[in-house]
Amino acid sequence: MGYVFDLRGVLSGQYLDWFVIGVATTLALTCVAWCLAMAMGIILTLIRMIPLPPLGWFVALYVEYHRNVPLLVQILIWYFGVPSLLPRPARQWINAHHGEFLLAAIALGLASAAYIAEDIRSGIRSIPKAQYEAARSIGFGYLGAMGYVVLPQAMRIAIPPLINQTLLLFKNTSLAMAIGVGELTYRTREVESYTFKTFEAFAVATVIYLLISFGIMALGSYSDRRLKLETR
């Protein structure tokens, strides 16, 4: 084929900088979206605990929407659709402040929140009702029973799936390239189109994605082993 695989071309000078910026943006996007997802996931879980049917329907609709519409489409709605509904000054502010990063983080975070809410819910469901009843019978109120007895055990069960969600969220940040966020995939394509070193550029990106993913996976299997409840 006469193709010489040479990493030096893409891992030096300006191109190395682009990769570094790309990784930093990917990680920043993951972190911002993760915090939003966690907060929203917990809020959704709390809303679902209120015994008022319309609130339950709202959460169900929220979860079904985010699980049945492709993430890329959700990102496109946030990027193209939502700003068009906002008043002009808000749109100008978004355009002037790297709106694509913020809107991608919102889209990723809200979508992840739907899955996180489900993970927390199945964690809570897996705690036998007797735990709650026992806590109430020794004098805890609703909040005390949930806060000291049910939730600590439920979180223990929910952490491994939550780490798996983090992995998915990290991988999904690559979709933000579709709206021009300068994350790793986007920067890789830039390096590729400037250097024509296609294989080198994508090999570097692939290795970076794998290293970070394997780190998250290792954390997941560690927590899985560490937090497993002893069942007798």
Binding site: E64, V69, L72, K171
Partner: protein, 236 residues
């Protein structure tokens, strides 16, 4: 919103078909179904390799599954796009690229579902087959897989839903599917992006929600219809 739908429903449904390549929702469903069907044999092979008693089969299969799980789908799309000209000597179109990338990506995820299905079967099934004198292949294909696949049906439908959602990445490489069709409509109209992408989201929602509900229905049927076979409900 209705006006947009009235003027562009054909584009959403079949793309520019009579005057150009077939696209739209038809292509989305075609790509998802083809990718899932093609990846099925690979997924079974991977699952059997991961459960194999031989290290030299188990380790590479495990490595493949973890590697695929660690990479975004879009990386596979780009790799397919760049590598396929080297393999077959000419550039391939967006649709072929997406299908190949999806086959590789989905095979790893599907193999995990199949593995869980096989592991969920009671050990007595294999022991009974062995005590009847069946060897590995007849045991696998006549006893283990038919039962495992039957129990996995709901997860397979969910996997089809994931695949449908993943075909939306055709937008990135200009494969003619429904997200790409919506972006074309949006490029023509320019002023109503929320409505256009709202229609797109609603289309996906109706399709995927119907399939998800079907998966739940099958799950209830299979778990109650098999005389309460112990603990065979597969984790998705």
């Amino acid at each position: 919103m209705l006006e947009i739908l009235e003027n562009n429903w054909l584009l959403f449904l079949v793309g520019q078909y009579p005057h150009g390549p077939i696209g739209g929702l038809t292509m989305t469903l075609f790509m998802a179904a083809t990718a899932l069907a093609l990846c099925f044999p690979f997924a079974i092979a991977l699952a059997l390799a991961r459960l194999s008693p031989y290290r030299w089969l188990r380790l590479p299969a495990t490595a493949i599954v973890h590697t695929v799980r660690g990479l975004p789908l879009i990386m596979f799309i780009f790799w397919t796009y760049f590598v396929s000209p080297l393999v077959i000597g000419r550039a391939i179109g967006g649709v072929e690229t997406l299908i190949i990338a999806l086959v590789v990506y989905e095979a790893a995820y599907l193999s995990e579902i199949i593995r869980a299905g096989i592991e969920g079967l009671p050990a007595g099934q294999v022991e009974a087959a062995k005590s009847l004198g069946l060897r590995y292949w007849p045991t696998t294909f006549k006893v283990v897989l038919p039962q495992a696949l039957h129990n996995m049906l709901p997860s397979m439908v969910s996997q089809f839903v994931s695949t449908i959602k993943e075909t939306s990445l055709g937008y990135v490489i200009s494969a003619h599917e429904v997200t790409f069709a919506a972006s074309q409509v949006n490029n023509v109209l320019l002023t109503q992006p929320f409505e256009v992408y709202g229609i797109l989201a609603l289309t996906y929602f109706v399709l995927c929600f119907a399939l998800t509900s079907l998966a739940r229905f099958i799950e209830r049927r299979t778990s109650s219809g098999r005389g309460g076979a112990p603990g065979v409900i597969v984790a998705a």
